[in-house]
Symmetry: C2
Subunit: 554 residues, 2 copies
């Protein structure tokens, strides 16, 4: 166990994190941090995957070829009149930088010479300019893809035109800042384009923290968190992002909406929840009101080992169902534990067979919560390992995507996927997904290495997060598409949700009808028809092009 003084998540860390360079166009994060594969990983790979072959490098930025922009001079003039010429961009670099998100297929597509990209990038300066862009695009038949931090891993940013004649990326980067702060009610209004680090820096000036730290934190935006129903690493302490949201402002092609007058309302259905998870198909979230809490004064870390995943999962279930627990709790299965320990190299091989748990405590009543959690973990068969592994996790918790870039360069396919279900179905779901991934890769003669962890717990269930490594092979995109399709089906059969926090985007749209039923799809389509009658908003996202049977009797 380790106690840090000072202000952990909310200020020092956040300020340091704010100074981030623009994201690499063909990979994750700060270009200066891109690096070769660490020696420990490199030496592990042959053991896990057999021989891998280094692929040919992708094109340089100026070698990428795009179609000519499909917008007319009249279109561009109209948007320039609205936003100013400098906020309507059609240069190749801007278009390439807004051409997609950061899934592994997105990154593999960046290695092609011919790429798809939006026809222009619009950068409105505020809510009213967003609304005006949507009205204009709706009149002119131009599709609009809202763009926050560009970190979607489910295809939500693909430059899909649908039935429109052109497609623009609506970059919310200029909508940044703390718009309002109510110290008494502990509520803050943040512009949707504010990045995670910038939001925490601004809140820290008030002594407050939002406390939402997904792995995409350094680049992702407040509006993106809302649009995708994000969940951060501190979810056990502060809840999913949707639990933090107390209000939103949205611009749609046919009118604005401002929701969330009061906590605890029973004034009809909670329409905030209709926009959380809507991923831009109804309109653009421009402002998000959130509850905030004081920057935690201390942080206590402790890691644990369990005989196996099942024992660790039972311990996490106890904690979720009895409350008063940690801010962060994560359980890595035996394979993930083994690899982490091999990389970290600090803890003897003898422990590498178990399942490891990381706990972090911040905020109120840390000592009591830690004691309560430790007692529960111990009673469930856990052994404390002190701060070691938890400290390593904390230090590197936003760095996974850098490692993926290095793996891809080395010829290793690396992707993550996630789901959630009730506690009673959790083991079955984990087995089904793992088996499906392995047998999917085996079909193309490749050995896949699958790791899994639980990182979000609820009284009734938990998330499962999988990391897949395999030799890249010759046709990685279609091969992965086949595996991913089989996994989606396996998740549905085993009673999981198609996404716990990556959202639907385009990649998960084929399973949404099974998840929410034909009537659910009809509801979303009816809302979309009302707010976006010409269908310009993020065509193909969430609702996809799934055929939905007409309901009987109509």
């Amino acid at each position: 166990m380790r106690t840090e003084s000072g202000r952990p998540g909310g200020s020092d860390d956040a300020v340091a994190m704010t100074e981030v360079a623009p994201m690499r166009w063909d990979g994750w994060g700060d270009p200066a941090r891109a690096d070769a594969l660490p020696f420990a990983v490199r030496s592990l790979l042959p053991l896990l995957l057999g021989r891998v072959r280094r692929p040919a490098p992708g094109p340089a930025l100026d070698e990428v070829r795009l179609d000519d922009p499909a917008l007319t001079a009249s279109d561009l003039d109209a948007f320039r009149a609205l936003l100013g010429a400098e906020h309507v961009r059609t240069d190749a670099e801007s278009r390439i930088r807004h051409a997609g998100g950061r899934s592994t297929p997105d990154l593999l597509r960046r290695r092609d010479v011919v790429q798809a990209a939006p026809d222009a990038i619009l950068a409105p300066g505020g809510h009213d300019e967003v609304a005006a862009c949507l009205r204009l695009a709706s009149e002119r038949g131009i599709a609009v893809i809202p763009f926050g931090g560009g970190t979607s891993v489910v295809g939500a940013l693909d430059p899909e035109r649908g039935e429109q004649r052109a497609v623009v990326s609506l970059d919310l980067g200029r909508l940044s800042g703390l718009l309002d702060y109510d110290a008494i009610s502990a509520e803050a209004v943040l512009a949707a384009g504010t990045t995670g680090p910038e939001a925490e820096r601004l809140l820290a000036e008030q002594g407050m923290e939002l406390g939402h730290y997904p792995q995409s934190f350094r680049y992702a935006t407040i509006g993106g968190f809302a649009a995708a129903r994000s969940s951060g690493q501190n979810s056990a302490g502060y809840g999913r992002f949707e639990a933090m949201v107390t209000g939103i402002r949205v611009a749609t092609p046919t009118g604005d909406i401002d929701l969330g007058r009061s906590p605890g309302s029973a004034a009809g259905p909670d329409l905030v929840r209709l926009f959380l998870g809507s991923e831009g198909i109804f309109g653009v979230i421009t402002e998000v009101r959130v509850r905030v809490h004081p920057v935690p004064a201390e942080r206590v870390l402790e890691s644990w080992t369990f005989p196996d995943f099942a024992a660790g999962a039972a311990a996490l279930r106890h904690i979720a169902q009895h409350g008063g627990g940690p801010t962060v709790i994560r359980l890595s299965d035996e394979t993930e534990t083994g690899v982490s320990l091999a990389q970290v190299g600090k803890i003897g091989k003898a422990l590498a067979k178990g399942a490891s748990v990381v706990t972090v405590f911040e905020g109120e009543d840390v000592a009591a919560r830690r004691a309560r959690t430790a007692a529960a973990l111990q009673a469930a068969g856990g052994t404390s390992l002190g701060e070691g592994a938890a400290e390593d996790w904390l230090r590197t918790r936003f760095d996974g995507p850098y490692l993926r870039d290095a793996l891809l360069d080395a010829g290793v396919f690396c992707e993550t996927l996630e789901t959630a279900t009730t506690w009673s179905r959790l083991a079955g779901l984990r087995d089904a997904v793992t088996t499906t991934i392995k047998s999917g890769f085996a079909e193309s003669g490749r050995k896949a290495f699958v790791m899994c962890h639980i990182s979000h717990i609820y009284p009734t269930g938990a998330s499962l997060y999988f990391t897949v490594l395999a030799p890249l092979g010759d046709e990685p995109l279609p091969a992965w598409a086949r595996v991913k399709h089989a996994v989606g089906d396996a998740i549905m059969s085993a009673g999981g949700t198609i996404s716990h926090h990556h959202a639907v985007g385009r990649d998960h749209a084929p399973w949404l009808a099974e998840e929410i039923g034909v009537t659910g799809i009809r509801i979303l389509r009816a809302v979309k028809r009302e707010l976006d009658p010409h269908g310009i908003m993020n065509p193909g996202a969430v609702l996809g092009s799934v055929a939905v049977a007409e309901h009987p009797g109509e």
Copy 2:
């Protein structure tokens, strides 16, 4: 402070509460419990209100006159073929018993000889029969009012036909029981017509509790809690009802929907939330999946006094924003405290000037949470009074409506209304509502006595619950309608929500457009058009007949 052994809310209490007689047709609750006004209240009334005049008694049940049922023989035959003749009722008593809810205007209307009532009562025996009733009613142009416990206080059960030729009440009483229970995931599926006490009795057999105790608990149903976004007395500990709901099943005129595969899903917008608070305008909730917790082993009670409401509210705010607090916490303002003490007569007059707080602790870690809460209340200027007032509150917590019946018989108008807002707007909202009620009654020359309490707290704000007493006067219904209208406007101006937990029904529909905006109303109407294209579901509820301007540009 008092510690009770045994199982508090979930089993002994609940079992005792299950044995409830059918509700009085013209008042609240068990007819055997109706009683004259207690002496303490009777002696207080002249001091508070001046002289009141006893009204003429209302008609006996068999003296009430209804219109003939508007259903044809063919309609009745069709429903009888579906449900069995005994489950299609058109007798006067059944119709009168389904003619409305239990607001004070509802009760005053029961004192008229000529009354409005639904044309028939349908009592389906399960989900499929509900769905078949809705399809049949939709084909035949018959409005359907879903009916659970009959406890709405916002006009959600008014027998309004809308544009249909007849109206039926769909009584869900036969949909009762624990349909599924998952001990590992701590989830239970309850049929929508299960009453609060019956649900707790069934769960207690599994050692579990739902823990939802609104004042309507003894009669209200699980489906009603969901449809109205109910909030119970234990909300500080277990959350609002919507926080307990993990899934729902709904029958609509055009198809079923089954939502909530998994906790923590990001599979598009959370459509469960579109049905919570929908009060039957889209369809009928037939099953509700809820998270449950072990029946608490102990209960600790403690009451407190504060110098004034503002000091007490500041203390509650601290507790809401710092967590780990009580299961129940309530703050009565000076007037409510004074009247309670006069009734209870246990505590000296010297304390009657302050504001009183009741705290109850159940479940996990009771001693630590009580100590933490006590320290916070003391630091905020509170003085512990031991268990006294808290015990009185606990014993009588479902009995308020009985007192209202006695007051009405004695010529005293008595009604409650409620709202919520952020902590920073709370004092202004309370003042605005109190002033508006008093000046509204003053216009008809009557003195009103207004009491207020906070009974639900959130990190960003709290509820306000008002009880109004005034001389009944000659035209109580139109006089109250004027006051209620002014109060609705005052709530909107002061930044409150039109309802914290009573819901919208028909009484609050005029303010919904201001609360959720024109775009919000358009969304609800679009969903209703999709699911209920003929407009048979609870016409006039939630959406009312408010004219909504067409959106521009369409």
